[in-house]
Structures are given as structure tokens and as C-alpha cells.
């Protein structure tokens, strides 16, 4: 009995050692590569802006054979990304889990401290883009052609002025609060599920204005249904040359939505380097660059420590914003 047990232990040790040897990169051998399908968590639901970007990235990696294994998107939209964050946080040291993030990456841990998420423990992989925001109204509002008109019209209607957005305390809500304060307005914020729905509410005149991303309003804009009044960016967007920035209008306010790839906390150095190299290739691919131009995306590639300090900066900015709007104490 004892003998067989001993033999078994020995066998297990041999197999274990073999497995370690097999997975260990030998000197002079190729660098680290993923060995099994990579789980690519999306902090939002199927069909949204982040989901579309992930599926595009997945297709770029697959069609240009950039990686030996498939990347499989998994949507975890629960609790404004809380579920996705908890999931990734529980994968400490995992080399095969990535996440595609939005700004809820900053706001959700701030608003729900009970989750125990510290975003600085996550592995920075690559910031693929920053999405932009513009202020939109329906084209039939011939009386509104600039911010001054807008402020006048919105003021006249008071709280009957409907601003549609994507959920309470979301990015759209932050921007609405800014507009209300900066122009002394009393617009009413109505939350909807998803930016596409918001864009449609404006086109169907069920809302008076929105702060959509260009990708969400583009179809209506090109058809002449909606128009952009001003943009929350540093410089005017090439696609919307007639929409001034708020900086130009004398309000120093800039806001972007990050589109960043994040790795599990404690990912090995080799794996992190591999993914950083991979996403650099994706970033520079023709398809991704074409998508950026078309959707009017900004923001250069940021990786490693630069990305980490960007996170810290953005988190602090969001903390101040959330505190000002009373969403956190």
C-alpha cells in the first residue's frame, strides 16, 4: 500500500516537473506565447460601442493571424462593469484573460468601494483610442446653430428640455451636469440603455439634445437629421469642422472616453510584453486605423507605465467630477 502510494507520488512529481519544463521557455527558444484561447472580457453588452470594437479587434487578430490562438469575447455588462472588474480581479496571475474597458473602469470602483477594486493593480496593455463627445440637436431646430442659441433655447424651456443619455451617473450624465452648470441651464436628464438608442431618441424628436459619440450619431448626421454644435475635445474634429470646441467657447472643458485593453492583475512580465507587442500591431493595422478615422477616434497608443500614469490621472479627475455631482461622498 505504502509502496504504491510512494510510486504514485513519484509519478505525479515526474509528470508535474515535465509539465513545468514543457511550459518553461528554454534559453534561446521563442518568447512567450498564449497557449490557450484568450478570454477577452467586454465591460459592456453585446452590440454596444465597446463590443463592436472588441469584435473588430478579434477579427483583425484572426484574419491577419497575429496570434496562435483565438481571442473569445465574453460580455459582462453587469453593474456598470462591476461584474467584469470583479471577474478580472479574481484572475490574479492569469496570463490568458484580457479586458476591454470604458470610463466605467474609473467610475465603478469609485462609486462601489465595496467591490475592493484597485485599478492600479491591473496590467496596462494598450490604450487603443479615445472616443470623443459632441453636443447634438435635431436639424429641424433651425433656430439653434451655435452654443449661444442652444443656451437660449434650453433656458427658455427650463426643465422641459430633455437631454437623453446612457444611464444615470454615466459619461453622458457628467457632460450634462457640466452644461447645466456652465450655461446655467436646468435640462432634464433621461437615461436610456445604450448610445444607439439615445441617438435614435434625438432623431425621432423624443429628446431635445444628446451628447453622443460620433460613431453613434454618424448615420443620422450624414443623412442630415441631426447636427453637432460643439465638441468636448482639445481640437476641432476633422469630421466636424464646424463644431467648435468648448475651449474655443471659453469653457475649459475636455472629456474623452478611453478604449483600453487591460490585463489581469499580476500577469507575468513576459505575457504583458507579448500582449503589448500584439496590440501595437493591431493598433498600427490598416483596419484599426481606418476604423479610427471613420469613427473620429482620438488618442494615441499608450502602453506600460505611460498608460498606468494616464489611469491614475483620469481616476483622480473622475473622482473630483463624481464628488461634484454628489454621486460619491
Amino acid at each position: 500500500m505504502l509502496k504504491t502510494q510512494h510510486a504514485l507520488t513519484k509519478m505525479a512529481c515526474t509528470i508535474g516537473a515535465g509539465a513545468i519544463l514543457a511550459t518553461m521557455p528554454l534559453i534561446g527558444q521563442a518568447a512567450w506565447e498564449p497557449q490557450k484561447p484568450v478570454e477577452f472580457v467586454v465591460m459592456a453588452g453585446k452590440g454596444g460601442g465597446a463590443d463592436k470594437a472588441v469584435r473588430l479587434i478579434q477579427s483583425i487578430i484572426a484574419s491577419e493571424k497575429m496570434a496562435p490562438v483565438p481571442f473569445t469575447p465574453v460580455n459582462k455588462p453587469g453593474g456598470s462593469g462591476a461584474e467584469a472588474l470583479v471577474h478580472l480581479n479574481g484572475k490574479k496571475g492569469d496570463n490568458h484573460t484580457l479586458m476591454f474597458t470604458l470610463n466605467s473602469f474609473y467610475t465603478t470602483p469609485l462609486r462601489q468601494p465595496k467591490l475592493g477594486i484597485d485599478i492600479t493593480t491591473f496590467t496596462p496593455v494598450a490604450r487603443m483610442a479615445e472616443d470623443t463627445f459632441l453636443l447634438w440637436v435635431h436639424s429641424d431646430r433651425k433656430d439653434i446653430n451655435n452654443m449661444a442659441d442652444f443656451a437660449k433655447a434650453a433656458k427658455a424651456k427650463g426643465k422641459k428640455w430633455i437631454m437623453a443619455g446612457t444611464g444615470k451617473n454615466s459619461e453622458d450624465n457628467l457632460l450634462t451636469d457640466f452644461l447645466n452648470t456652465a450655461y446655467d441651464l436646468n435640462m432634464k436628464y433621461v437615461p436610456y440603455k445604450g448610445g444607439g438608442k439615445v441617438a435614435k431618441e434625438l432623431a425621432g424628436k423624443n429628446a431635445d439634445s444628446t451628447v453622443n459619440n460620433p460613431s453613434e450619431q454618424l448615420g443620422f448626421y450624414e443623412a442630415g437629421t441631426t447636427k453637432a454644435l460643439a465638441s468636448f475635445t482639445d481640437k476641432r474634429l476633422p469630421l466636424f469642422p464646424d463644431a467648435p470646441t468648448f475651449k474655443e467657447l471659453g469653457k475649459d472643458y475636455v472629456y474623452y472616453m478611453q478604449r483600453t485593453v487591460v490585463g489581469a492583475p499580476g500577469m507575468s512580465k513576459e505575457a504583458a510584453e507579448y500582449y503589448q507587442g500584439l496590440f501595437k500591431k493591431v493598433f498600427n493595422s490598416k483596419k484599426w486605423q481606418g476604423y479610427r478615422t471613420k469613427k473620429s477616434l482620438q488618442g494615441d497608443l499608450l502602453q506600460g507605465d505611460a498608460l498606468m500614469s494616464y489611469w491614475k490621472k483620469e481616476r483622480d479627475i473622475h473622482e473630483v467630477m463624481l464628488r461634484n455631482m454628489g454621486a460619491i461622498k
Partner: protein, 504 residues
């Protein structure tokens, strides 16, 4: 008119390119099997196979995905009828009468009815789509939150009376479904809500599929295990046979209910067009109305073929309808079209009002492919009916473990979360115990589908109106829909009162 026919003709030339034709046939067959798996509906099918389409040109890609979509809509009926497990929310209404028919040994009749009705629904809707796209797109656009809520009320109203005899248990079932639908996250206040026992898995809410596979899959199978034990291990899921003569007589019977199918198709198409509604409310409403206009409403739920055909015609018509807002407005009418939309963006096509003019070849190729996909899906489906019937004849103790395994994987696959698998098993066991006490469970499953559509729409409307309920009655479209809904809701009460007065 002539111009449209010309464009459609060009579309057919695109479809009949060998590659595209192969993609349609392959897509229909693949979709049929994905749809027939419990848990995998058209949403997952399209999402999962999206990357495959990057190997072919955009027109071929959308044709392939549309074929999968159609195939999956046909396939959804198969597991609803054979196993009583709706593969997707769109097929829930099909189980109500499809499963009883299968139990009576008439699975072939139900399957044929579903296939034919799907074909009718698909064909009528695609014709409507061809000729009346732009004006209907306008209705979809002005349809806001108050209209959505009114529509949900109408959907609720059409299936009052679907419950059992015990009014308390029926109300309980509806209420628990609506409460479970509120679990997770409240978008209006931006706060997590009803995270039961603070388990993080509840943050993503209670998925419809988890409840449906739990109750109809696990629960129903446990029920059958019991029946099997009582019958001494001899029970079978269905004892249908297929012969040419039977098929012919089935088809003859279907001709007699053309009105029901026509009603389902038109209703499904219009509901499908409305953004966010999608095929599920359409199929439920079609079922409810089929029951109300039937000469023999008591037969519904006991195996009425109209009860299979109405929702099947409607859900296929709605799946075509939901492509309209996607193509013309860039707004998905259902989760599946949301993914198709993502695909189009990846292929470099910008959906929206200008798509019809800028990419006319693509649009008309897609419309023509819907005609073709519909035809191939019905042929493939009918051809496979004998195979399905043969599968049902496998002894229960072989089929049962396979179905259990498909349920477990079906519960896991959509969210890839073990939490959902555990939840599904809990629903299955509790559902089984409740069913033994005559709790009707279908209302709970319907409520969990409609709840997340109704509640936000109601609250958004009230925010817009500063809390006044008049918003549901004042608007052009919401008003008439809401009044119809209320009339339908109170109709049974009037009937009862009227009968009492007459008796006196």
C-alpha cells in the same frame, strides 16, 4: 414600383453567385442546428460566427449571417416542440401548444406547422420589407418610451388568461417573473439593484435563458423522470411517426388556418420594426390574439396547431422586420440585429438613412437573400423532420442525459458564468416542486422577458412628463395602443359581469 423590382432583380443576381448560394444553404443548415440547441438562439449563433465572415466579401458575409439568423429562427421551434425547451425567448410561445402536440404523438404535425408558418411569416414580411421600407422606418423613429410602454401593456393584455385556474398562483407567477427581471442593475438610477445575498453573479441580472432552461429544461426533465419511473421505464418523449399520407393531411389542415398565419405574419412584422421590441413580444401577442379570435379558445394550451403557427409566423416576420430599423436607422430592433450591425461596421458599411443609396448592391443583395434563405430554410427544415422524429424515438434513458448535458452547456454558454448554471439548476428543482402543486410557470417566463422592456420605458416616460401618467394617452401612437391594451385587459372582467347579469 418598377424601379424596386429592377433593384430586387439585381439583388437576385448577387444571390445566385455560387459562393453566395453556398453561404445561404450552409448558413441555413448551421443556423437550424444552433437554433435547435437549448440555450443557443440566433443571438449567439450570429455573434459566434461573426469572425468566420471576415473570410468573404461583405455582401457574402451579411448573406451568411442573415441565413444563420433565419435558420436559427426556424430551429428555435424544434427544441420548443420536441423537448419543450425554448432555445430563445422568441420561441417561448411555441412551447405552449407545440409540446402538448408532441406529447400526443403529433410532433410531426407541430414541426410541419412550425416550418410552414415560419415560411409564410418570412415570405410575407420580406415582401412588406421590399415595398414599404422607408415610410415604416419613420414610425420606428418616432416610437419613443411612452409608445414602448404602451406596446408592452398591449403584450401583457393579449395573454391574460394564459395562466392556470388558481388566480393567486397565476398572479404570483407573473409577479415573481417581473421581480426577477429587475435583478441586477437599474439604469435609471445607475445603481445596482436586488443583488440577492450580495452574490456578484446577480449583477448581470437573471437571464431569461437561465429561467427558461431551468424551468422548461431541467424542471420538465425531472418531471419526465418521474413519469418514466411511474411508467416502469417505458416512457418516451413522443411517439410520432412520419408518412407521406400524414404529412399531406397535416399540410391540408394548415391551409385551413391561413388567416391565423396571415395575422401572425403582419403583426410580427410591425412589432418587429419597432426598435427594442424584437420578435418576442410579437410572437406572444400573435399567440394571444390567435387564442382570442379562435372559435375554440379552450383548445389552446392543449395542442392547438394555431397556437404553434401564430407565434412561429410572427417571430420569423419580426426577425425580418427588425432588420428595417437596423438598415435604415442604424438602430437594432433586437439583440441579434445589434450584432449584425456590429458586423456591418467592421466590413466598412455605415448603416443609416443613406445605406440604401450608397450601397444599393449590398442592401438589395441582402433583401434577395432573405427570400432565398427563407426558401432554403423551410426545405432543409422539412427534410430533417423525419430525423427529428427518429431522435424522439430513442429510449428516454438515453435521451435524458444528453438533454441534461445540453441544458447545462446551454446555461453556461451565453454568459460563460458558473453562477448561471447553478441558478438554472435551482430554478429547475424549485420549478419542478412548484409545478407539482399546479403553479403555472409560463407567466413567470413571459414576465422576465417583458419586464426589462416595460419598466425602463415607463420610468423614462414619467421623467419626461414630470411624473404625469397622461403622457401614455396624449401622444399620437401611444394613446390608441394604450387604450386598446386597457380595453383588452378589462374585457374578461366585462365578460364576467355581463354573464352574471344575464344569468340573473
Amino acid at each position: 414600383m418598377l424601379e424596386i423590382l429592377g433593384l430586387l432583380g439585381n439583388g437576385f443576381l448577387v444571390v445566385f453567385e455560387p459562393l453566395n448560394l453556398a453561404l445561404i444553404i450552409g448558413g441555413c443548415a448551421l443556423g437550424l442546428f444552433i437554433g435547435a440547441m437549448p440555450g443557443l438562439g440566433s443571438v449567439n449563433g450570429v455573434a459566434i460566427l461573426l469572425p468566420l465572415t471576415f473570410l468573404v466579401p461583405p455582401t457574402g458575409a451579411i448573406i451568411f449571417l442573415a441565413a444563420i439568423y433565419y435558420g436559427a429562427m426556424y430551429g428555435g421551434a424544434i427544441s420548443s416542440i420536441m423537448l419543450g425547451i425554448p432555445g430563445a425567448s422568441t420561441a417561448v410561445a411555441t412551447t405552449f401548444d407545440g409540446r402538448p402536440l408532441a406529447k400526443q404523438g403529433l410532433a410531426d404535425k407541430a414541426l410541419t406547422g412550425a416550418a410552414v408558418a415560419s415560411f409564410v411569416g418570412g415570405s410575407i414580411s420580406v415582401v412588406l420589407f421590399t415595398f414599404f421600407a422607408p415610410p415604416l422606418a419613420h414610425i420606428a423613429l418616432v416610437f419613443g418610451a411612452p409608445e414602448e410602454f404602451a406596446l408592452m401593456m398591449l403584450a401583457f393584455a393579449t395573454f391574460v388568461g394564459l395562466g392556470g385556474d388558481d388566480i393567486f398562483k397565476t398572479v404570483f407567477s407573473i409577479a415573481i417573473g417581473l421581480v426577477l427581471s429587475a435583478v441586477g442593475f437599474d439604469i435609471i438610477s445607475g445603481e445596482p439593484r436586488l443583488v440577492l445575498w450580495d452574490i456578484t453573479g446577480f449583477l448581470h441580472g437573471v437571464n431569461f435563458l437561465v429561467l427558461a432552461i431551468g424551468i422548461y429544461g431541467i424542471g420538465e426533465m425531472l418531471w419526465t423522470v418521474e413519469e418514466n419511473a411511474l411508467a416502469g421505464g417505458k416512457s418516451m418523449l413522443s411517439e410520432a411517426t412520419v408518412t407521406i399520407a400524414r404529412t399531406m393531411s397535416n399540410l391540408r389542415e394548415l391551409v385551413g388556418i391561413w388567416k391565423t398565419m396571415l395575422m401572425g405574419s403582419i403583426l410580427g412584422y410591425f412589432v418587429g420594426i419597432l426598435p427594442a421590441a424584437g420578435a418576442t413580444p410579437g410572437s406572444l401577442m400573435a399567440y394571444g390574439i390567435a387564442k382570442q379570435i379562435s372559435k375554440d379558445p379552450d383548445k389552446f394550451g392543449q395542442g392547438a396547431i394555431e397556437g404553434v403557427c401564430a407565434p412561429e409566423a410572427a417571430n420569423n416576420a419580426a426577425s425580418t422586420g427588425s432588420m428595417l430599423p437596423m438598415l435604415t436607422l442604424g438602430i437594432p430592433g433586437s439583440p441579434t440585429t445589434a450584432i449584425l450591425l456590429g458586423g456591418m461596421v467592421i466590413w466598412g458599411l455605415e448603416p443609416g438613412p443613406r445605406l440604401f443609396t450608397d450601397h444599393s448592391e449590398f442592401v438589395w443583395g441582402l433583401i434577395a437573400s432573405l427570400y432565398a434563405a427563407n426558401l432554403f430554410a423551410v426545405i432543409i427544415n422539412i427534410a430533417f423532420i423525419p430525423v427529428f422524429i427518429q431522435i424522439l424515438k430513442t429510449p428516454f434513458t438515453i435521451l435524458a442525459p444528453i438533454i441534461f448535458i445540453l441544458c447545462l452547456i446551454g446555461g453556461y454558454a451565453p454568459t460563460q458564468s458558473m453562477h448561471d448554471v447553478w441558478l438554472m439548476i435551482s430554478f429547475g428543482i424549485v420549478g419542478y416542486l412548484m409545478r407539482k402543486l399546479d403553479y403555472p410557470l409560463a407567466p413567470a417566463v413571459l414576465a422576465i422577458v417583458l419586464g426589462p422592456l416595460a419598466e425602463p420605458a415607463m420610468r423614462q416616460s414619467l421623467i419626461i412628463s414630470d411624473g404625469s401618467f397622461m403622457i401614455f394617452f396624449e401622444r399620437t401612437y401611444a394613446g390608441p395602443i394604450m387604450i386598446t391594451a386597457l380595453l383588452l385587459l378589462f374585457l374578461p372582467l366585462f365578460k364576467i359581469g355581463y354573464d352574471r347579469i344575464r344569468k340573473k
